[in-house]
């Protein structure tokens, strides 16, 4: 009798616990189908995952660069006012009186795409999602591959005859990769 009572009590307690959990399951999310995901799924990964079909050459990219990018980044990718894309120019304000001195003293410790970015795939990802600034997402994938090729060539990382596509782009070696380390997981 006593055991039965205990079992009944236990069942009641468990029942309340389960009821409590059920009360917290809000479950208001709605199914997201594959077509909806595909429409927005633009992230490109360092190993080339999610790069689309298409291709673009350095020479095609050179013309596109002058038309779409040079206005903000400069004809050589170092003049600004937007972020430095090429080589050894750092991220210093144009009104900084010591700008020339800083760049002269630290020619390799810089923040340009060529000097700081560890993976070439990021160029495709970012140009496609965010550039050109005044009309983001207005370029076709072939054009994005071509501009990516040109930017890599301007940094001396691919030859003048290079063609970028989903196979060649992830294989471009970026100098910053070997200097990279992760602060995550962080110290406790």
């Amino acid at each position: 009798m006593r055991e039965r009572l205990m079992a009944l009590l236990l069942a009641l307690v468990l029942g309340f616990v389960l009821w409590g959990q059920a009360a917290h399951a809000v479950d208001l999310g709605q199914p997201l189908d594959a077509a909806q995901i595909a429409r927005f799924d633009i992230t490109v990964f360092p190993d080339g995952r999610n790069l689309p079909k298409g291709q673009g050459s350095v020479s095609q990219g050179a013309a596109l660069y002058q038309a779409q990018c040079a206005g903000c980044h400069g004809p050589k990718g170092i003049e600004g006012p937007a972020a430095r894309l090429v080589g050894s120019d750092g991220f210093f304000g144009w009104t900084d009186p010591l700008r020339v001195l800083r760049i002269k003293n630290y020619p390799l410790l810089v923040q340009s795409v060529g000097a700081r970015w560890p993976y070439a795939t990021t160029l495709f990802d970012y140009v496609r999602r965010a550039m050109p600034y005044h009309a983001p997402k207005s370029l076709g994938d072939d054009e994005v591959y071509a501009i990516t090729a040109q930017l890599l060539h301007m940094n001396g990382l691919v030859s003048a005859t290079a063609v970028m596509d989903k196979d060649s782009l992830p294989r471009v070696e970026m100098p910053a990769r070997d200097k990279t380390f992760s602060a995550w997981p962080q110290k406790p």
Binding site: G29, P31, L32, L98, D125, A130, P136
Partner: protein, 425 residues
């Protein structure tokens, strides 16, 4: 009044002095009138004759959405475009208290502010999950919400002091105003992760905004599940457009850039994507040339807000209360020490309650200024024993052109004329 910047004093102090003079004059006349009346005969001088205008005129009407006093019109954010994008800095030199008003909260925009209709905005969660799900804002707002007071600081806050060889003479807001503190209310991300069901290989989440640049960052899943919030409200009202309306990610204590505004997509993945900002601008080059990535928490830091850059102490010698703000991206502030002699000696400041986890903590210390040159500094310690470094100690760790996560001690030089100026000490 005492701590206002020169331009604010020029606008506001003069009328106050006029008022004081006039008030005293009227008071004397009224006293004379009472004396001459001598209790004989009726007193006919109306009460209003000896009182200020505000006390004898009907008041103005209120506004549907309130605004600060017109006399505080100089307390505004200032925009900088020196970095190539828009940074709106908070006027910390005017803030007394741990909550930043929503209109003064700092903001950084890499691709401007998108115009988003909340009825059409959807949060998508997909990738390494059992059930990809979407949540419209109406459904999301029906989840249980939590409220937490936390600071938010741009990774590049105080870049001028990190980079410039000489200490630039700016206001505190212009030097270090890329930090604010607010009460954030929203849905814990853990609820959403539980609902979609994570696969075993899930390690990171690519968090994306619905702005023109589709801003994105890769963040570790474990930290998002522990601390992440889908923030809908700031200081009790829906987010401002500039803070990510209708939805932003909030990660307490972490650099501003990862708190993705206009949040619309969480892609659960096995490894970071190395997005644009984790490739370049939001990384740090160390002295030895190595590049540090994914350094998320903002370190322990404090700033004396009163007095601070370009303010003037109105009278040589006398009492002043030194006041300021301290915070740490790793926990609570346990101690703030203040020096008035350039770091030779330190005194413990009073921490004003509440002292909250990863939030602004206000500190104060009484000070008798002797009218001589003085260098004021503050040094914060958090509950994990992290102590704010000197500028030279901070600089010794990073390359000369590094500026992110700068948390070195801020020093203010007080001249004999009472003028306060940024200095390196």
């Amino acid at each position: 009044m005492v701590w206002d910047t020169a331009e604010a004093q020029a606008g506001a102090a003069a009328p106050r002095r006029q008022f004081l003079r006039r008030g005293m004059g009227l008071g004397a006349a009224a006293w004379a009138g009472v004396a001459s009346a001598g209790g004989a005969g009726p007193v006919v001088t109306p009460l209003g004759e000896r009182l200020p205008n505000a006390m004898k005129t009907p008041g103005g009407s209120d506004l549907a959405y309130g605004l600060p006093s017109p006399h505080e019109s100089s307390v505004v954010r200032t925009e900088s475009r020196a970095a190539g994008f828009s940074v709106w800095r908070s006027p910390l030199q005017h803030q007394r208290g741990i909550i930043t008003p929503n209109g003064l909260h700092f903001a950084t925009h890499h691709n401007g502010i998108p115009d988003i209709t909340p009825e059409q905005h959807v949060l998508m969660v997909h990738g390494l999950v059992q059930r990809p799900l979407k949540f419209d804002m109406e459904r999301l707002a029906r989840y249980p919400m939590v409220s937490k007071v936390h600071f938010l600081e741009c990774a590049g806050n105080s870049a001028a002091n990190a980079l410039s060889l000489t200490a630039l003479d700016h206001t505190l807001g212009d030097l270090a105003g890329e930090v604010s503190c607010a009460e954030w209310t929203g849905v814990p991300l853990s609820y959403i992760f539980n609902e979609v069901g994570l696969k075993d290989s899930a390690q990171w989440v690519v968090v994306e905004g619905a702005d023109g640049g589709s801003h994105s960052r890769s963040l570790p899943l474990s930290a998002l599940a522990k601390d992440g919030m889908l923030a809908l409200y700031q200081n009790g009202e829906r987010l401002r457009a500039s803070q990510g309306y209708p939805l932003r990610l909030f990660m307490p204590g972490w650099e501003g850039n990862v708190n993705v505004k206009w949040l619309h997509r969480l892609e659960v993945v096995d490894a970071p994507a190395y997005t644009k900002d984790e490739s370049g601008l939001y990384t740090q080059v160390l002295k030895d040339g190595r590049i540090e990535r994914f350094a998320f928490p903002m370190e322990v830091k404090s700033l004396i807000t009163h007095p601070s850059g370009q303010q003037t102490l109105p009278e040589a010698k006398g009492f002043y209360e030194i006041g300021g703000l301290a915070w740490s991206g790793r926990g609570r502030i346990t101690k703030v020490e203040v020096s008035v002699d350039g770091g030779a000696t330190w005194a413990s400041a009073t921490l004003q309650a509440p002292v909250l986890d990863r939030a602004f903590t206000r500190f104060t210390l009484p000070w008798q200024w002797q009218g001589k040159k003085a260098v004021l500094m503050s040094r914060a310690t958090d509950e994990h024993g992290n102590v704010q470094p000197t500028r030279s100690a901070w600089k010794s760790r990073y390359a000369a052109h590094s500026f992110n996560h700068y948390n070195a001690i801020q020093a203010w030089q007080v001249g004999r004329d009472g003028r306060v100026e940024n200095t390196y000490a």
